[in-house]
């Protein structure tokens, strides 16, 4: 029973590790896109 639990726990940990890594990276990039968009929009105004 212990081996069965261990195997499934490891598989879940690896899968969720991948999912969380994707989610975290996506969040970081989304916030970067937001910030850069604001900078791009503000740039012409700053020149004026």
């Amino acid at each position: 029973m212990g081996y069965l639990v261990a195997a499934y726990a490891v598989l879940w940990a690896i899968s969720f590790g991948l999912v969380f890594s994707i989610v975290l990276r996506q969040r970081k990039l989304d916030s970067d896109v937001q910030m850069l968009r604001v900078m791009v929009e503000d740039e012409p105004r700053a020149r004026d």
């Binding site: 029973m1 081996y3 195997a7 499934y8 598989l11 690896i14 991948l18 990039l29 740039e43």
Partner: protein, 231 residues
């Protein structure tokens, strides 16, 4: 269009989660016990439902990396590079799962965590080859060169998949042969759980690919905006 795609992705993610839960139930409870003497052996046998499905996703992912590599070398289109990278990352993670779950199965079945037989050794080499693919990508600065090198590497590395697949047929390895053998195969009642896990993991792979490709597109967007700001 973007909003529709986002909704579809949410639906697909939810569907994958539900299917994984059902697959887990089938693997742990629903499928009948294997015809084995020891209780430990019967429990351990239930590992194979997810172990094989995980291996299937690994092989499928490396095949998609191969297709992405060929696509990139033919067209130099960034979309193929994104497909290859996304699939290689997912495949490598799943191969790690195969190695670890297989090792945990081996302990009660064979009495050892690891043996250097052909199948296991080739699987380990295959995992390391794709870790190398990801390391190669992170070590080349120029995007065009990186994509070209990675495409060639991904195409060549794919040879490990058919070798790994036929290893248990070519050599007399300790690893059991699930299909095409009289002994060691699955009973008819176990087949439903087995194929359900296989289909579920395929859908799970498609979902992960979608998320991973979306991530890479966002990265491209960030790069494009940075270029715009810099001039």
């Amino acid at each position: 269009m973007k909003r529709r795609n986002d909704t579809l992705l949410i639906v697909l993610t939810a569907l994958s989660a539900v299917l994984v839960m059902i697959a887990l139930y089938l693997a742990l409870v629903g499928a009948p016990d294997a015809n084995l003497q020891s209780e430990t052996g019967r429990y351990a046998q239930r590992i194979i439902y997810f172990h094989i499905a995980t291996a299937w996703v690994g092989f499928l992912a490396f095949f998609v990396t191969f297709v992405g590599g060929v696509g990139y070398l033919r067209t130099q289109a960034r979309k193929w590079d994104i497909v290859a990278l996304s699939s290689a990352e997912i495949g490598t993670v799943f191969m790690l799962g195969v190695l670890v779950s297989g090792s945990i199965w081996a302990k009660p079945a064979w009495g050892v965590w690891w043996v250097w037989d052909e199948r296991l050794t080739i699987s380990l080499i295959q995992f390391l080859v794709y870790v190398g693919y990801l390391m190669l990508r992170s070590s080349v600065e120029d995007p065009a060169r990186r994509a070209r090198f990675a495409a060639v590497y991904g195409v060549v590395a794919f040879i490990s998949v058919p070798i790994n697949f036929i290893a248990i047929r070519l050599w007399r390895t300790q690893h059991p042969l699930i299909f095409g053998s009289e002994e060691g195969g699955l009973g008819p009642n176990m087949m439903f759980a087995f194929f359900f896990c296989l289909i579920t993991f395929t859908i799970w792979y498609v979902t992960l690919m979608w998320h991973r490709i979306r991530l890479e597109r966002s990265r491209d967007q960030v790069e494009a905006l940075k270029q715009k700001i810099m001039g």
